[in-house]
């Protein structure tokens, strides 16, 4: 189990300032060290040497629209929020990586390592294979999901919590109440094991976020932890604020990206 300590110095974070951008993105700019990601993105967008007709066409196909705003937003996400960007728009992420950033990535190594470790460990769990899952009783399934939570908590370095089930309102697949992970009875009874595992990892990630808020230095990105802290105080439910506000708030965007990555790696694309 990881110790609870400040791991900031272990992270290969991109260096501050214009050093983190490819040199070609800064060519022609005056005082690039004073510019933010957005200004540099706009410069790249308007530079035909960097973003010529061929790339523009390919980008339009992937992004669905060719507006500068969309490009600038994607460029900023690639640099400043790569983990979420990678999960939400993998084709666009690959485009940025291959055609504009020449393979350079900004994913924080510690988080990437944790995801790899989780995937490798979960792939060894027989009971969450689809062909095994479908023959399990509800009790056995709940035990299997508890094993998923136990494994994830160990990898993440936090205290494991219980996994329970109950019927839930339409559209609600689970929740974390501060003490336990709850999965809907409908989700547990479904043969869609990828969905069930995703739920446990997603809710477990909320437990991780809570743990990070309570233990400064535990999570490498303190700015992100502050965003989680603020978000928990003003949490936006889908029932009152709509799906977009719910989905894009910091704790949910992070949990969705985290769980989706592992789910995709274990169960494949489209699952």
């Amino acid at each position: 189990m990881w110790e609870t300590k400040d791991r900031t110095d272990e992270i290969q974070s991109p260096s501050e300032g214009s050093d983190r951008f490819p040199e070609s993105h800064l060519a022609g700019l005056e005082n690039p060290e004073e510019l933010g990601t957005e200004e540099i993105a706009k410069h790249v967008y308007s530079n035909e040497m960097l973003f010529g007709m061929g790339l523009q066409k390919e980008w339009s196909r992937l992004a669905g629209e060719a507006t500068p705003e969309k490009f600038v937003r994607a460029y900023g996400d690639y640099v400043d929020d790569p983990f979420t960007f990678y999960r939400q728009a993998p084709d666009q992420y690959q485009f940025m990586k291959e055609h504009l950033f020449y393979g350079q990535e900004y994913l924080k190594s510690a988080e990437a390592e944790q995801l790899s470790e989780a995937t490798a460990a979960l792939e060894q769990m027989q009971e969450i294979r689809p062909d095994v899952w479908e023959d399990l009783t509800l009790r056995e399934r709940l035990d299997a999901l508890q094993n998923v939570e136990n494994l994830m908590s160990e990898i993440q370095g936090r205290t494991p919590i219980g996994v329970v089930t109950e019927p839930m309102e339409p559209g609600l697949y689970g929740y974390f109440d501060g003490k336990a992970v709850h999965i809907s009875l409908e989700g547990l009874a479904s043969n869609d094991v990828a969905e069930a595992v995703d739920t446990i990892i997603h809710e477990g990630r909320h437990a991780y976020q809570h743990y990070a808020v309570d233990h400064p230095g535990f999570h490498p990105d303190q700015e992100q932890v502050e965003a989680w802290r603020d978000n928990f105080k003003d949490y936006l439910t889908a029932e009152l604020y709509g799906q977009e506000a719910y989905q894009t708030q910091p704790v949910e965007a992070d949990a969705w990206a985290y769980a989706s990555t592992i789910r995709h790696d274990i169960y494949g694309k489209g699952v």
């Binding site: 559209g171 109440d177 809710e203 909320h206 709509g242 977009e244």
Partner: protein
Amino acid sequence: MKDLNKEELTQHLMTEFSYPARGAALVAEKLMKLHPELEAQFVIWWHNGSLPRVTVEEYTVERLMHEHSMNPIAAMLTLDWLLREPEQAKASLKRGHDHAVRGS
């Protein structure tokens, strides 16, 4: 939205729909920017309670209320998202939602 005032919207959201102050301000801000296809129907609903009948990507206000437990306001905001970013919105709705609440 020329027929409604943001401050009035905010106040009404708090008094009639029990939104907290910050949440009401956030919702009012979003409602003021509703897609033109939804704006007129929202105003009608706001004044007389008739739910909009618009369909976006096979979703209606009623469907979002029944299948996702949304109130009419949340449902209309979701239809707005479906109009602006259909693929992302549909993928999110297919998954559903959870609650990440802090324990006592």
